[in-house]
Amino acid sequence: MSQVSTWDSARAQEIIDAHLHLEGPAMPILHALQEEFGCVPEAAVPQIAQALNVSRAEMHGVVSFYHDFRREPAGRHRLKICRAESCQSMGSEKIAREFLARIKTDWHHTTPDGALTVEAVYCLGLCAHSPSALYDGEPVGRVDAEKLDEIAAEARQS
């Protein structure tokens, strides 16, 4: 997974400025900030609000509306496990529940060693290979205990 930088408001301003020519630049800015810093920290909100000429409250509203925007960085690796109907039809809930117990964490939490953040996702469009998951952006089909354990082991080592 790509390295994330620590918060730097001058760098953030560069990113914001680079997107101001777009029509409706807020979402591209938020994505770009999260790409750089691993999250959209609280400090970014007034800065984006200022640039877009909206209130801090409005900008806070936008950031907090979307599931994707994190307030603090995730673990070194991110695993999204699908919980939608198609994956449920293939037993995903049981597989995920047992996996979370094995790695001693819960949905939307990071393992204590900071290696792996597990997130719930509702459909990855891999429904013919349910259950499915996305590990650091790479798709995984026909997920089972063995595949999840391999991912967890790899996450711990890198």
Partner: protein
């Protein structure tokens, strides 16, 4: 030089296609074989992915479920000449799953290199655009109306009428917005076309822009499809470099450009007004309609908002003529529908057919029944807001009106199959829970109703006043159906009520152990 096709489709990658492609390249080099690996889209025979194909004088020979470990033995067997091997499925185009299809929207998907413009043009790409340019914009709109095409996102609204409204509304500028926020479980057709034939979608957007005099198009793609974004972004660049997009589209005086935007995990942004809010950089809150986006959409300008499949079908309609498209299908459901067969199913994949098959034919004949081998119990049609259909209703004809008559919807064409181990009370609960998680919060029936729905179903599960709670749940569903602002709250009751109606035994169990899920 032998051409070997290994799909770049996300589903193929999920089953190891990248490793297979690397292994083939390495093995070919080690053996001194001259091989050109083409990363095509997927043909939709998804249960066979990774489906490797080899171009031979007899046609393209397929090898299904190939893993990197199989590669050496494929070379040993002489697969570069199409030789038999335990993974061989013979000529792909003779495969029954392929042969029964009527590929219109997906005619190139899986066949060509999705990022080769010359291959695109060699298989009819650009013909539709040229024919559209030969018409006046008003004639182009009329052509779409004549085809009978209805919005493939789920609502089934006639595309031509929407376009005419956009074209006829006075404005300083107009927009074309493609809804690629394909959030319904069991659907992946938008993803497949954007990975497998992205130029078709872009050509459709250009035609739409020309027809309504819009110069800017946006594609709003969900963030859950990161690989799709990579392919599609490249496709935009290629068309910009080739002069298909830009100030003079294909040398004409028509200017049109396209920008890809990525969502951020909100299911409700698949609702068109919520999507527009998100594009504008706001919370994805649903707008009250009217005004409809066709009159006041993105930045309050007249805006076409169409699903990926609707727009990707446009070039074929112009290429073959509107009448040819309208001649397929049944009743008011004209043309073809790319079915997506998913869940607990043996032959999961995408199968484009004319409207008019029965649900039973789709599930049993095409899908081959469940993967688990157990009996089918229910099929959810049309995503998380679609009804659960029991086996006794397998005579249902796949068309918009037939489904609506039985309180079901075909939606985006996704079918999720469940075997007899499914707990329908749990699925009903999930329907409400999902609505609660994804509600934008603007209207009360959806925001509060979904949470109350979860609580009520929990009481039913615990056996508390079951009859009274079921009556309450039905009443709540009715309020959500009639009182919600958009389809999220308005259709969330469909899976719940259909589960209740068709599988009452799951709601009337004497003592149910505490939530297993």
């Amino acid at each position: 030089m032998t051409k070997v096709f290994v799909p770049l489709d996300m589903a193929a990658k999920a089953m190891g296609a990248d490793k297979v492609a690397a292994a083939i390249a390495k093995e070919a080099q080690a053996r001194g074989q001259n091989v050109q690996i083409v990363r095509n889209g997927s043909r939709g025979l998804l249960w066979l992915e990774p489906l490797v194909e080899v171009e031979t004088p007899q046609g393209r020979i397929g090898y299904g479920n190939v893993s990197a470990k199989d590669v050496a033995s494929l070379f040993d067997a002489g697969f570069l000449g199409g030789a038999p091997h335990k993974r061989s499925i013979g000529k792909v185009e003779d495969h029954p799953y392929w042969k029964r299809q009527h590929r219109v929207t997906f005619k190139r998907c899986g066949v060509t290199d999705p990022l080769s413009l010359s291959e695109y043009e060699s298989l009819g790409g650009g013909v539709g655009l040229a024919k559209a340019f030969a018409m006046s914009p008003a004639e182009a709109v009329a052509e779409v109306t004549k085809s009978g095409l209805r919005g493939r996102g789920g609502a089934g609204f006639p595309t031509g009428i929407k376009w005419k409204t956009v074209a006829d509304t006075p404005a300083d500028r107009r927009y074309v917005v493609v809804n690629a926020d394909e959030g319904d479980s069991g659907t992946f057709a938008d993803r497949m076309i954007m990975e497998g034939d992205p130029f078709a979608l872009l050509e459709g957007m250009i035609i739409a822009g020309y027809a309504v005099n819009a110069s800017k198009g946006f594609v709003y793609l969900r963030s859950e499809y990161p690989q799709t974004a990579v392919v599609f972004r490249r496709a935009i660049e290629i068309l910009q470099e080739a002069g298909w997009l830009g100030p003079k589209v294909r040398g004409s005086n028509f200017a049109f450009d396209v920008e890809l935007r990525i969502g951020a995990g909100a299911y409700v942004c698949g609702e068109e007004t919520s999507l527009l809010e998100s594009l504008e950089g706001k919370r994805g809150i649903v707008r009250a309609k009217p005004p409809f986006p066709a009159m006041a959409g993105l930045f309050e300008r007249p805006t076409i908002v169409n699903n990926v499949l609707s727009i990707a079908t446009i070039p074929m309609i112009f290429e073959e003529g509107a009448q040819a498209y309208a001649d397929c299908g049944v009743g008011r459901s004209r043309g073809t529908m790319p079915l997506q067969i998913a869940g607990n199913v043996k032959y999961g994949g995408l199968c484009e057919v004319d409207f008019g098959l029965t649900l039973g034919e789709i599930v049993n004949d095409i899908g081959g029944g469940t993967l688990s081998g157990r009996p089918v119990r229910a099929v959810q049609c049309g995503g998380p807001l679609g009804a659960y259909v029991p086996v006794k209703d397998f005579d249902l004809i796949f068309d918009y009106e037939a489904f609506a008559k039985r309180d079901a919807l075909i939606g985006h064409g996704g079918l999720v199959i469940f075997d007899d181990t499914v707990d329908m009370l749990q699925m009903a609960r999930f329907g409400m829970e999902f609505c609660a998680i994804e509600s934008c919060g603007k209207c009360t029936p959806c925001r509060i109703g979904s949470t109350r729905g979860v609580e009520t179903i929990d009481k039913i599960r615990q056996g508390q006043n079951v009859e009274a709670e079921i009556a309450l749940l039905e009443d709540l569903c009715n309020t959500m159906k009639l009182g919600s602002l958009c389809a999220l709250g308005g259709f969330a009751p469909y899976p719940v009520l259909s589960a209740l109606r068709h599988f009452p035994e799951d709601f009337h169990r004497k003592s149910v152990p505490a939530a297993a899920e």
